[in-house]
Amino acid sequence: MVTSRDDFSIAIRSAFLKKGIKQKFSLLALIITSIILLSLEAINSKSLNFVRSAVKDVVYRTSFVASVPSNSITSVFTKVQNYFEVYEQYEIAKSKLQQLENQKNQINYLKVENDKLKKVIDDTDVYNYESVTTKVLVDKKSPFLKSVILNKGFNSGFKKGMPVLDGPYFVGRITEVNYLSSRTLLISDLNSKIPVLIEPMGYRAIMTGNGEKLALLEFLPKNHQLEAGSLVYTSGTDGIFFPGIPIGRVELTEKKFYIKFFSDLSQLYFVNVITSKPIGSE
């Protein structure tokens, strides 16, 4: 028994303390180094942030270059697939165009009417914002965390918390900014919580990512009469995001209300980052 216990302790010691013939570091030394690095994450000093930012910029660019071969293959597959779908898409596009023509006429009428009413109430244009278009540098699929790395950072005036749009649709917010790159936390991530407005009922709620393609609607008013198909927009109550940015549509699954996003978060190539602050925020 004693011998057996000795064997185990010798094996543990050998595994963690002994260096192999070609090993330069022992496992224990590297684990301690990792713990020290993890503790440094809690320290927020200017010089450390500079080093972090530089390291991240270099790693992101390396990752982008390393991903070129696999991305090229994926792109070829997508192109071939697209060619097969061209005719079908043409038919859909034709019918949609007809619908849009009709809607355009209605919108023009509403716009004129809206401008007239605005003049009456002397309202400012709250939706007038500046945005910067940027490329998605790295989109590493992770089943646990949903984020993408963007091609621009401090150099383009990006700051933490800025909203990110895919076309007109809200897809996330910036959570990390480096000099040449930044990270966007997508709305599908478990750690994403965004105040939203549900129309036409006008309900306010919190949209929480669930790590999947849908997001959960929480903190709905008591005795609400929410229906599937209602539209979800940013509410702007947090003072960070502009109000009225479309996000998705309400879906009812297993007695829970979810939001199906308008944008396909797995297909982000170019996004717009809103660099101006909403009126009324500091």
Binding site: Q23, S34, I35, L190
Partner: protein, 171 residues
């Protein structure tokens, strides 16, 4: 010339595991499928466990540590989380290597189960308790299960590579 070619071929084959490890952490290519999330698995864990167990000189601990750092930067995790998890897994593999007299793929596979369970627990607790980052533990558990199931298949492929490296070394 023959000696040079022999040396080059041996070096080339022995660098393949290291190349796979760094390619997986650096590039967007991994085996986390968005549409077939139930089939996602972690090839990095298999690479680390297999090669530390079979031939630790091919996959140095320093490289495993570095791969963890790169992975953290790209995934957006606090720097050091993946390094610790990878090194814990490497620790398990090294421990088993020192204990095992007659290695076999089945035995390695059985040991891989608790190793992955502990490694993923370390990963989950560091993120959840120390950094308050929410992690989809169902996806994590599913990913671990598929990784465990695929270990023997990928292990057989690595066995071929391992044999080539040994043969080249002995030529």
């Amino acid at each position: 010339m023959f000696l040079f070619r022999k040396k080059f071929a041996r070096r080339f084959f022995s660098l393949i595991p290291l190349f796979i490890l760094f390619y997986l952490v650096c590039s967007e290519t991994d085996f986390n499928f968005e549409k077939l999330s139930f089939l996602s698995f972690n090839l990095i864990y298999i690479v680390i466990f297999y090669w530390v167990l079979k031939n630790p000189d091919i996959l140095g601990y320093g490289f495993i540590f570095l791969a963890g750092i790169v992975n953290d930067v790209i995934i957006g995790l606090p720097i050091g989380v993946s390094s610790i998890t990878y090194l814990v897994l490497a620790g398990f593999a090294a421990y088993v290597r020192y204990l095992t007299v007659a290695p076999s793929l089945i035995y390695d596979w059985i040991v891989f189960v608790p190793s992955i369970a502990v490694t993923n627990s370390v990963y989950f607790y560091i993120l959840r308790i120390f950094f308050d980052i929410e992690v989809n533990y169902i996806a994590l558990a599913l990913n671990a299960s598929i990784t465990i199931l695929l270990y023997p298949i990928i292990g057989i492929l690595f066995n071929f590579l391992s044999k080539i490296i040994i043969v080249r070394k002995n030529v």
